[in-house]
């Protein structure tokens, strides 16, 4: 039905554009990771020294591990918050389900910056939380440890990514045909057994998708540490940022970026494979 000319015309512009403005830039970044800098100039001498630095220099290694720990914490917390919420909406909310769903979605579209700023104002020494605690005489002086710490970063990112994690979990829970729940109960399984034997397994794809998303984006986040992290809350992406800025070592920065990129792609590929193998065993349609 569609002539060759049609298909050609339609495919060419996006392919060209994406190749030029996406593929090429990413490849360029990749290339830079193998170069070095010397006396303020970039030497196009291909080697792996940047990667060696990343994995051997104790500063970088330390920050890397810290970042992974923080990203993991954000992921776990988001799941602990998001999964029960999704379950509640899907199975217990009744007629208010649609409205509650919209209420969860709305914060997703509230600017990252706005939400980060909100936490900054809440957690500071003069912030709202400290004021609240002192007002109730729970504390007598400002607790300064709240802000400018890994804790604050994890808190802020959890706040941002909980709705992100909620979405795919909710979708996969909604996808479970209700007769399956009834069948499980009909066959003698208590609600608890039904959850662990039917609902949870069938919600794994959504859970994996959400968790991966939260982990990957937290791993590469540089704004939250700048807002609420302080020196102790620096993450690996901040190092990249300074390497492209004041520290001026673009190749090293590129190498770290490529590392984040590869970790991201690897995680996505793994979860996609798990998801596919899981759902290849069934089709819920």
């Amino acid at each position: 039905m569609y002539s060759r000319a049609y298909r050609f015309l339609v495919a060419l512009p996006p392919i060209l554009w994406v190749s030029l403005f996406l593929l090429l830039p990413y490849l360029l970044m990749f290339a830079h990771s193998f170069w070095t800098v010397h006396d303020g100039l970039i030497i196009h001498h291909w080697n792996l020294s940047n990667y060696a630095t990343l994995f051997q220099n104790p500063l970088y290694v330390q920050v890397l591990f810290r970042t992974v720990r923080m990203a993991a914490a954000v992921t776990i917390l988001s799941v602990l918050l998001g999964y029960p919420l999704a379950y509640f909406l899907s199975f217990r909310a009744g007629p208010r389900k649609e409205l509650l769903y919209q209420l969860v979605i709305v914060p997703l579209w509230i600017s990252y910056l706005v939400r980060g700023y909100a936490w900054k104002t809440i957690l500071g020494s003069d912030g709202v939380l400290n004021g609240f605690l002192q007002y109730l005489h729970i504390t007598h002086g400002p607790v300064s440890a709240l802000l400018y710490s890994p804790f604050a970063v994890v808190l802020m990112l959890t706040h941002i990514y909980t709705p992100f994690v909620f979405l795919p979990i909710y979708a996969s829970l909604e996808h479970i045909p209700r007769p399956l729940i009834e069948a499980s109960q009909d066959l003698g399984a208590s609600p608890r057994q039904t959850f662990f034997r039917v609902i949870l397994p069938l919600s794994i794809p959504g859970l994996l998708a959400g968790a991966t998303f939260a982990f990957v984006l937290s791993l590469g986040d540089f704004l939250a540490p700048l807002l609420v992290g302080g020196p102790s809350g620096t993450m690996i992406a901040n190092l990249v940022q300074s390497l492209f800025g004041a520290a001026y070592d673009w190749p090293l920065g590129a190498a770290i970026s490529v590392f984040i990129l590869i970790v991201t792609l690897a995680l996505l590929a793994i979860t996609q494979r798990i998801e596919m193998r899981w759902s290849k065993r069934w089709s819920l349609e």
């Binding site: 399956l180 069948a183 089709s283």
Partner: protein, 357 residues
């Protein structure tokens, strides 16, 4: 399942297994089930028959435990059932779309209920094997349910329910998703399966032919109320109401005025003992024959009619008749060569069944 005694002595056939006592169900403002009572005997094949909206599925779900009655009680063998959640009732369901667990294979699906009640592993394996044998799906033991055809999935659903040895099996229109040929075949299989295991089946369908073929008894539901509960032959030969007569099989509904022992239908009259009133009679098309073909009919009622249409269907044909007074009747006769024009027809008085509106 967990609270039912593991091996209760089977009741002698005919003894009451399940009692629905004055149960009604309301959804908001809608009265889906009006107060009704029903008994199911051990080992019988009882069909809940009705149109969509008649309440048959709701009644099934009340017995399964997925809904609560607004009023009334459900009892099984001296235990009150309606206060128990579904996973504690010795009742299992075959769902309309089978509801097989997609993340488990066939054997795991069948074993599900046994696992839930903590049956020992080797017993599970043995019983799953027996169940697979029973529905002839042995070679599919490790199969993925999504890969099975409709008929195969249905058999797995049956096995999954029956392996738990319930006292009562509920079937929610299990054959409606199958195509016509497969349906007929599965009907045979279901019937013989039921005889083989001796469990009571409560079967829901809107297909009256299916109900007639399979059931020991039919409970006909209409708008949430029981119209009639009787064996297929009984319901067919002596429908209680005009609705029943028309829902099951085909019929002619004759309006008559009874005066002084004679029912006057306009086109013909026949003796009928009843008080003077207007009445409705059901007359099955096969009860009407050509006068010339049946000279020795007992209590004959003769009338003359013109053949307006002749619809051939192999062994029999359906004649659409217009009587001298302009009434339309249908007659089903053995096929013969084409007819036309006016003929004499006859039926026996005892085939005219008085029915309520």
């Amino acid at each position: 399942m967990t609270t039912a005694p593991p091996t209760a002595a089977p009741l002698p056939s005919g003894a009451t297994l399940l009692e629905v006592r004055a149960v009604s169900k309301q959804f908001g403002a809608r009265q889906v089930l009006k107060t009704l009572s029903l008994e199911i005997a051990a080992g019988e094949f009882l069909t809940l028959l009705g149109e969509s909206g008649s309440g048959k599925t709701t009644l099934l779900r009340l017995i399964a435990g997925f809904e609560q009655p607004t009023a009334g009680e459900i009892w099984m063998r001296g235990t009150r059932l309606d206060i128990l959640p579904p996973y504690k009732r010795p009742v299992n369901t075959v769902f309309q779309q089978y509801a097989l667990f997609p993340h488990l294979n066939v054997s795991e699906n069948i074993a599900y209920g046994l696992r839930a009640s903590n049956t020992p592993k080797n017993e599970i394996a043995a019983r799953v094997n027996d169940a697979l044998d029973m529905v002839r799906m042995q070679e599919f033991a490790a199969a993925d349910p999504a890969r099975l055809s409709g008929g195969q999935q249905q058999r797995v659903a049956l096995a999954r329910a029956l392996v738990n040895r319930p006292e009562l099996l509920l079937l929610d229109e299990p054959l409606s998703a199958l195509d016509a040929n497969l349906r007929k075949e599965m009907q045979f299989e279901l019937k013989s399966l039921q005889r083989e295991v001796g469990i009571a089946f409560l079967f829901v369908t809107h297909d009256q032919e299916e109900a007639m073929a399979l059931s020991d008894r039919i409970a006909l539901l209409r708008d949430g109320a029981l119209e009639q509960v009787a064996s297929p032959r009984e319901i067919y030969a002596r429908p209680a109401t005009a609705y029943n007569a028309q829902f099951i099989g085909q019929t002619n509904l004759l309006r008559a005025i009874i005066r002084e022992g004679v029912a006057d239908c306009g086109s013909f009259q026949f003796p009928y003992a009843g008080k003077d009133a207007s009445a409705l009679f059901s007359l099955r098309p096969e009860a009407i024959t050509l006068a010339e073909d049946t000279p020795q009919l007992a209590d004959p009622v003769r009338f003359s009619a013109t053949i307006r249409q002749q619809i051939y269907s192999g062994a029999t044909e359906l004649l659409e008749l217009e009587t001298t007074t302009g009434a339309f009747l249908r007659a089903r006769i053995a096929s013969r060569k084409p007819l036309s024009g006016s003929h004499d027809f006859v039926f026996s008085v005892r085939d005219a069944i008085a029915v309520r509106e």
